[in-house]
Amino acid sequence: MIIFEATNGSLIHRIDPRVRVAAACAFAAVVCLSHRLVALEIALAAALGLVVLGRLSIVSILGRIKALNLFILVIVLLLPLFIPGEPAIRISGLTWTREGLHRAGLIALRANIIMLAMICLLATMEPAHLGFALRKLGVPEKLTHVLLFMIRYVELFHQEYHRLRDALRLRAFRPACNRHTFRTFGYIVGLLLVRSMDRAQRVLDAMKCRGFHGRLYVLAPFRFTPADAAFALLAAGLVILLSWIQLR
């Protein structure tokens, strides 16, 4: 189920995960505060550039931004009704204002730009490397441990869940909106919890046996190469340019 992009050896995939995480955060921070169309157009060009550099498939990107854009669609339809201004579209008593459409458009742009950058920079890395990179960037150690455990066990419980669903299907269970379904799903969740707590205890015992006392070692040999420095400089330049346009 973990749909991290397989490493395809593209330019983006080879950049140091620490640089990618830092760049994604800085880019997201400056884009989400931008109100000027020029800044967002430059940011969009940069995000699309990342897609090209990362050699990502369009189909998988569309699949990932689908859910986001359904939410955005609701905002675009609702928001302009409540922002006062010059009427732009009028349909049977409802008025979408020009100012409202402008605000909604900015929101849609910002949301999609940040999502694209996040897919290109973060979803393209080895899952465990995300945890190691966050650790190196100063995120509390325990939090990255929780992340690493989660990355390890999510796939496992997903298989477990599918086994349970298969067992239900064999017994002709068909979900509907009734109490039987709610109770059955509740039992599945309960069973997943019981099994996860049992497994956690076994994992802890096994780890204690090997001398675990609250530390995991970072095994990824991150190396900061000239290419990483170049990418970091480019990203920093872009972030500074975008904030300058915004503050001008």
Binding site: A28, A111, M115, M150, V154, A176, C177, G186
Partner: protein, 213 residues
Amino acid sequence: MHIPDGILSGPVIGATCLLGAAGVLVGLRRLDFSKIPRAGILASAFFVASLIHVPIGVSSTHLLLCGLMGFFLGWAAFPALAVALLLQAILFGFGGLTSLGANVLAMGVPAVVCYYLFGVRLGPAMAGRTVFWLGFVGGALSVVLATVVAGITLYATGREFLAAAGAILVGHIPVVVIEGFVTGSAVAFVHKVRPELLACPLPTSPPKEHPDA
């Protein structure tokens, strides 16, 4: 339910990230090293459980389960949620990076409230029916609280979001009932099969032998 990037205003992003980080730090402080595997593994079980879709008419809804997380994790729900929501944003495009703080708060606050209101009362000695109804109320309340917190962050961004916040609240009314039944059944199930797991704080006694250890 998950607020994406690009909607919230600068001050709201700052405030929610600070508050969310504070919640995560409190949770981490209460998480000693022997509970780290449990927090991570429980978080992955919740992550998978939140993929369950319950059909409503032609549409369907997924479970939030933040009340149930509060029952079993207490304050540790905050770090677990931060990690889970980060992965959800990166992998599925639900939520976002800059709205991570807001989303962590929207689910972490109900989790901790449920922990203090109901979680600490649950125990192996209770009658099964009482356990179910405590779980029901906790699960239902957590969804209401989650939509209210999300609504407040949207409203703080701009008054024009009031309608969107109201739409979210109304849209979640069926979820409140479903979440109540599912949470109640889940707690009742754990109470029936492994009552000792309901004791708060969780005991660290070794579980029964399993062949696949």
